[in-house]
């Protein structure tokens, strides 16, 4: 099962290594991990996408809570939530393929943010699924480079994750 964990951590040197070290030491999976400071500069927020049985995810949550720098942990997948990931893709766009590439980007609501004679750089935001689907829609040989941020997530509605 895929789970999205939202974690508030103290904005301290080493907090990220404590979290990532926990995953590697105990053999848990990380599919993606994002982290940045929040509106409160003393805290950072991480989103970790992990997979595992309910028992394993329960252990991950408990172990995370045990870390002294971790302020709060929530499994977003337990409730209604929104997830987004940003991807930048550099693609070959020359000759007869150039128009087609633009059309495909439009279909996925991608934006072309850099252009050369032979290439486009496309910015795309969405769920992990959508980004995967976009890459699948392209001719494999056309993809020159991809970079993805990993998932960021937030709960739906008025509920907020606070210290």
């Amino acid at each position: 099962m895929r789970h999205i964990l939202s974690i508030l951590v103290e904005n301290e040197a080493g907090a990220l290594s404590r979290v990532s070290g926990l995953f590697s030491a105990r053999g848990y999976n990380i599919e993606s991990l994002t982290v940045a400071p929040t509106e409160d500069a003393t805290m950072s927020r991480m989103t970790i996408v992990t997979t595992g049985s309910d028992e394993i995810v329960e252990q991950i949550t408990k172990q995370l809570n045990k870390l002294v720098d971790v302020v709060k942990v929530v499994d977003l997948s337990e409730g209604r939530h929104i997830e987004r990931e940003l991807m930048l893709v550099k693609v070959r766009a020359a000759g007869k393929d150039r128009e087609e590439m633009k059309r495909t980007a439009d279909i996925f609501r991608g934006r072309i943010i850099d252009v050369t004679d032979k290439s486009y750089t496309i910015e795309l935001t969405g769920t992990t699924d959508k980004l995967d689907a976009f890459l699948e829609a392209l001719d494999k040989g056309a993809i020159l480079e991809t970079v993805r941020t990993g998932v960021s997530g937030i709960g739906r509605g008025e509920w907020v994750l606070k210290a």
């Binding site: 951590v9 103290e10 301290e12 040197a13 080493g14 290594s17 404590r18 070290g21 030491a25 003393t42 028992e55 329960e58 252990q59 408990k62 172990q63 809570n65 045990k66 002294v68 720098d69 971790v70 302020v71 210290a163």
Partner: protein, 582 residues
């Protein structure tokens, strides 16, 4: 970490970082600092030079500093303190830190670091201390600003000693210990990200009590958490009130008196038949401050599948210990002492009583398992049996000594045959299983309790891992007794090779052993060699009569003796090998 800082101390004295360290330790009431100097901690040692607040114990290897501080903490319940230098000082200390971490022992470890401007430049004796120790500490800090030093040390003591205890490390660069700051030591710290649960959930406690009262085949399983949580009195009262059988893990020994008839012995890989069978066959299991680890219940699927209707109540201060290897029915997160007190109050007021007929039948069943006499050994042998030595040690010290041990067969025999009636008397490395801890543990214990009998049960392999500490014992007059069960083998390795590797004793024989008697004498101690069963008692009596001398008893024991019962790795706890099976 957000702190409710007290108003800035305008009046505080101005001290150097090194002086602040000393003052903080004084404020914490530290008695002993176990350490070893070096470049990065020279300012701190200079501040130690003319202070009277605590004694510094100079060990001969940093590993021993950690073990001695750890032994002190295990015996007293107070945090142990160690001080080592950067680089190799830290890497030598890591084994000691990891040992304490695995057994949840409160330590504050102060380490020197290269100056802040040199960090990351591969400076002399530099290592990434917070990085190297991160997986084996409860928490660690690198102090880059002398103004943060006092509050950081306060946090270190707070974190080490609350919740599930553990080692906390404070890394101090050399320039920070030289700089000055106003000294203010806060009485309390509040960390928004750290607030261990103390009180158990009252609804869960009610459920647990009800389950216990309805039990037909109850069992109480006690771990090191009861010792660490100072909950022996409450536990003992509960077991006696209910008249239920009680077993203890290696780390729990002494939490409930072994001389009480309700005690069915240690459980686990080398547990008694009655303890392991009662664990496997009970209908209600109360687990207190224990963690169902692999050396205790063996294979978790066998444990669960063998008795799917058993109900488990689990009390622990650490939520992550609950339902980690075994699913439990009634989890209770909280301090075992408080939770047990709440349970006792409910039990005393309860109208329901345990079913006397069912309980009598259960005790009869346990009696049948007990009758197997699974710890029996050959008492007529011409060669010294290690079990006999421990029995005599128990007799001569009236069961009231502090016993430390190393790791291996001798450790298991000490656990099985020295019947501990009090908590904190049995000092050993359970989780990490660190050979070499025994002697430094004994040093820490003897410093804490100079008038008590302190014996280290060891083997000729383990003792050589920290034998240099005989020198420290001489310097500080620590007259501990070393009971060396010398079978010329790494006994537990040999036992596994005999059982599971077709008697192929690869590298487990100790050739070229030193003459331990002469070695002890070379360090200025008393050495004795005993090789006849008839001489064991006399030698032990003589050793304990030499109140002010360290005595090294080199006892030549049966090379082929094995520890029984034994649950082979990966097997279920009812699948024991007994001596009579072979």
């Amino acid at each position: 970490m957000e702190l409710k800082l007290p108003p800035l101390a305008e009046t505080g004295e101005t001290l150097t970082g090194a002086e602040i360290v000393v003052r903080c330790l004084k404020e914490e009431g530290v008695e002993f600092v176990f350490g070893y100097p070096g470049g990065a901690v020279l300012h701190i040692y200079d501040a130690i030079f003319d202070q009277k607040a605590f004694s510094h114990i100079l060990v001969r290897h940093e590993q021993a500093a950690l073990h001695a501080a750890d032994g002190y903490a295990r015996a007293t319940g107070r945090p142990g303190v160690a001080l080592v230098t950067s680089g190799p000082g830290v890497t030598n200390a890591v084994t000691g830190i990891a040992t304490a971490y695995m057994d949840s022992i409160p330590l504050v470890v102060i380490t020197g670091q290269v100056p802040t401007r040199a960090i990351g430049e591969d400076a002399f004796q530099e290592c990434d201390t917070v990085g190297i120790t991160r997986p084996c500490v409860k928490h660690n800090f690198l102090v880059k600003d002398v103004n943060e030093l006092a509050i950081t040390i306060k946090k270190a003591f707070h974190i080490a000693t609350t919740g599930r205890p553990g080692p906390v490390l404070v890394d101090i660069p050399k320039d920070v210990s030289a700089q000055s700051a106003r000294f203010h030591y806060p009485e309390k710290v509040h960390l928004r990200s750290y607030s261990p649960v103390v009180k158990g959930h009252s609804g869960q406690i009610k459920k647990a009590v009800q389950l216990l009262l309805e039990a037909k085949r109850p069992m109480i399983y006690v771990g090191g958490g009861v010792v660490l949580g100072e909950a022996s009195a409450e536990l003992t009262e509960l077991v006696r009130l209910l008249d239920y059988p009680c077993t203890e893990t290696l780390m729990g020994l002494g939490a409930f008196p072994a001389s009480d008839k309700r005690f069915v012995g240690m459980l686990g890989m080398h547990g008694t038949v009655e303890a392991n069978m009662a664990m496997q066959n009970c209908d209600v299991l109360l687990a207190v401050g224990a963690r169902f680890d692999d050396r205790v219940i063996g294979n978790p699927s066998h444990f669960a599948a063998g008795n799917p209707t058993r109900k488990i109540v689990h009390i622990d201060v650490d939520p992550s210990s609950i339902s980690k290897r075994v699913r439990v029915d009634v989890p209770i997160v909280g301090h075992v002492k408080d939770v047990l007190a709440d349970m006792l109050a409910l039990l005393k007021g309860a109208k329901d009583k345990p079913d006397p007929a069912a309980l009598a039948a259960w005790w009869d069943q346990i009696g049948l398992w007990r009758a197997k006499d699974c710890l029996k050994y050959d008492r007529t042998a011409a060669i010294i049996k290690p079990q006999y030595v421990i029995e005599k040690l128990w007799e001569i010290t009236k069961g009231d000594a502090y016993i430390t041990s190393d790791v291996g067969q001798h450790q298991m025999w000490a656990a099985q045959f020295y019947r501990f009636d009090k908590p904190r008397r049995w000092i050993n490395s359970g989780g990490l299983g660190t050979m070499g801890v025994g002697l430094p543990y004994a040093m820490g214990v003897k410093l804490a309790f100079p008038d008590a009998d302190v014996a280290c049960v060891t083997g000729e392999a383990s003792i050589q891992m920290c034998i240099q500490e005989l020198s420290t014992c001489k310097q500080y007059h620590l007259p501990v007794k070393l009971v060396n069960l010398n079978n010329r083998y790494m006994g537990m390795v040999r036992q596994w090779q005999e059982f599971f590797h077709g008697n192929r004793y690869a590298e487990s024989y100790m050739d070229a052993l030193p003459d331990f008697v002469k070695l002890a004498e070379a360090y200025g101690h008393v050495g004795m060699r005993i090789d006849k069963p008839a001489d064991v008692e006399g030698a032990l009596r003589e050793a304990f009569k030499l109140k002010d001398r360290l005595v090294f008893l080199d006892i030549i024991t049966d090379q082929t003796e094995n520890v029984f019962p034994m649950v082979p790795g990966g097997k279920g706890m009812s699948e024991m090998i007994l001596a009579e099976d072979l």
